[in-house]
């Protein structure tokens, strides 16, 4: 028996309002665990994604982001814990949940034996959509993905950014209520990333709930209303990007590079200048509300670093503070 075609998309009210926030969450996980043999990839996470929001999983490689996304996408049975997606249980309602999801996997898995437009047609047919409807949607989606002039081309020669946009267009063919994006821009050049972000903003404005993983803090800051920071299969912090920064970091950071092989050895000299100091192999990070003032104090003490830079705190600093490690190395 074919699965009924998915209903009309998403919440038309767009970004989360009080009303949508109080409604049934799109995704709800309690103590969710994924274990592979004796290795625990996801170690008891609690997550709630609200209608219309852009929700992020930020964490380094191996944190368990893809494993989580695959459980939400109903292609990986949870080992333990509760999971509800679109109000249904993936263990029993997998096909019906998947009918309402759009999935952009970490690795593009386009059908290279088909053309660009055929990729969307065929994918739409997997959802049981009528041929006529699938063709209409494909035309719109190719427009959206800025691929109309490549419609009849085979997939193989497309650039990385184009393939990614096609994967997203394909994932939208069933008008999903939730779009799952696993590292949507990893491996793309900066320009291609910006084009992609722009498309994702448009979807968000149209009210599609976005769930994405990334190990780029700028991407998380740009796209996410709310996010969780993941490390070793656990959630170490949760909130909006600005709230996370306010809670776990200072307003500004003074970065210092000294002429030394061991920056830890210089710790004593900057003692007391900032609220907190982190040591990286190639620099010191001084966390302070006022970077300029810290810099003046540096001068007063007669310290002369090779380079000194004041910047605002980012999620990278939050991650560093919480885990003692950098996100991308």
């Amino acid at each position: 028996m074919p699965v009924e075609p998915p209903q009309v998309p998403a919440d038309p009210t767009g970004s989360p309002t009080y009303e949508s926030a109080t409604r049934e969450p799109m995704i709800r996980a309690r103590g969710l665990v994924k274990a592979f043999d004796d290795f625990t990839a996801v170690d008891g996470i609690d997550v709630e994604v609200r209608p219309g929001e852009a929700f992020g999983f930020l964490g380094p490689n191996g944190a368990g982001k893809s494993s989580t996304m695959r459980m939400i996408g109903c292609v990986s049975p949870p080992t333990a814990g509760e999971l509800t997606v679109l109000g249904m249980d993936p263990r029993t309602d997998g096909p019906r949940i998947r009918a309402g999801l759009g999935v952009v996997p970490q690795r593009d898995s386009l059908d290279e034996e088909l053309t660009v437009e055929e990729n969307i047609w065929v994918y739409g047919r997997y959802f049981g959509l009528p041929r006529r409807l699938v063709r209409e949607r494909a035309a719109e989606l190719l427009e959206f993905a800025q691929l109309t002039d490549r419609a009849r081309s085979v997939v193989e020669p497309l650039s990385g950014g184009m393939k990614r946009r096609l994967t997203i267009a394909r994932a939208l063919v069933n008008s999903p209520r939730i779009l799952l994006l696993d590292e949507p821009t990893t491996g793309l050049d900066p320009q291609a990333r910006h084009v992609l972000w722009d498309r994702l903003f448009r979807l968000k404005r149209e009210g599609v709930t976005l769930v994405l993983t990334t190990h780029y803090m700028d991407e998380a800051e740009q796209l996410c209303d709310r996010l969780v920071v993941m490390d070793h299969g656990r959630i170490v912090a949760e909130g909006s990007p600005s709230a996370l920064i306010a809670q776990h970091s200072t307003r500004e950071v003074l970065e210092l590079r000294f002429d030394t092989a061991d920056h830890a050895a210089r710790l004593g000299e900057v003692d007391g200048i900032a609220e907190r100091v982190e040591v990286l192999p190639d620099r010191l990070l001084l966390y302070t509300a006022d970077g300029e003032a810290a810099q003046s104090e540096l001068h007063r003490r007669g310290l002369e670093p090779l380079a000194a830079l004041v910047r605002r705190s980012t999620l990278e600093d939050v991650f560093l503070h919480l885990t003692g490690r950098t996100l991308v190395d």
Partner: protein, 276 residues
């Protein structure tokens, strides 16, 4: 996700729930549609799949047949080409199904990652198994129909029951495609396909294809009769010679069981490999 698709009702639904078959959405035909679309670009293969048994028919049946003369089949003397044509039909159904369900499926499974994206849609592992196997035997159906026409022109068709050889070849295709696809899920490299050849070639040569079962020493006859292609050849031969009896039921049952087991096994393996 061992639970079958939801929303099924009635006897079929209860049966589907009781069987140890992984979930599907009953939409395997969408995968067949996808294969048809991609196949239209590689139609050359259909030509080669058709010519192979035709070449054999003329080389063995007509060529060697002129040296061999008449042979005994199903208790009567027939020209060699009449004896060998059903075997070639059965063997080509096997070869086509095995090719499609091993090499092609391996590529999609390991390199193109086709099923990973298919399983993200409502389709389940059972749909993948049924869709791919159905596709392999659909192609076999086209080949066997075309072959039958050529065989008739070569004077190798003696009974109107020969028309039933087409569905029979499709049954052979199902049995081999499902076992072939199940085996493919265990393969790690292209080199593993040598084992497929190792199984296929002796079956092709020794399943009472080119000479009658009675030619084998009694000890070997049992071995020959245990192989699936033997039953395929015997089934098609019975039909093309118009000799329908209780034996036919045995052959059909053997192949149906093989097809069912192979399909369920494939679905289970796809689930194990991709839904972990």
């Amino acid at each position: 996700m061992a639970a079958p698709a939801q929303g099924r009702v009635g006897v079929a639904g209860r049966l589907a729930r009781a069987l140890p078959v992984p979930a599907g959405a009953g939409m395997a035909r969408m995968l067949v549609e996808r294969n048809y679309r991609s196949f239209r670009r590689t139609w050359v293969i259909i030509v080669s799949g058709f010519f192979e048994p035709v070449f054999f028919l003329f080389a063995m049946g007509v060529g060697i047949g002129s040296l061999v003369g008449d042979v005994e089949a199903d208790g009567r003397l027939v020209p060699y080409v009449v004896f060998v044509a059903p075997a070639l039909l059965a063997a080509s159904a096997m070869n086509g199904a095995v090719f499609d369900s091993t090499t092609n499926v391996f590529f999609k499974l390991k390199y193109a990652k086709l099923y990973d994206s298919v399983l993200a849609t409502p389709l389940g592992p059972r749909d993948v198994a049924v869709g791919e196997i159905a596709w392999a035997l659909l192609r076999g159906l086209v080949y066997s129909a075309a072959f039958l026409v050529v065989a008739a022109l070569a004077g190798a068709v003696t009974s109107p029951l020969a028309l039933l050889a087409v569905p029979a070849a499709t049954l052979i295709g199902w049995a081999f495609a499902s076992i072939g696809m199940a085996a493919t899920t265990y393969m790690r490299t292209w080199a593993d396909f040598d084992y497929v050849q190792l199984a296929i070639l002796p079956m092709f040569l020794f399943s009472a294809t080119f000479f009658p079962l009675e030619t084998y020493p009694p000890a070997l006859q049992g071995v020959v009769q245990a192989t699936p292609l033997f039953h395929g050849v015997a089934m098609v031969r019975d039909l093309m010679l118009g000799q329908v009896g209780a034996d036919l039921l045995v052959h059909v049952t053997y192949l149906v069981v093989l097809g069912l087991v192979g399909t369920a096994w494939t679905a289970r393996r796809i689930e194990r490999l991709l839904l972990r």
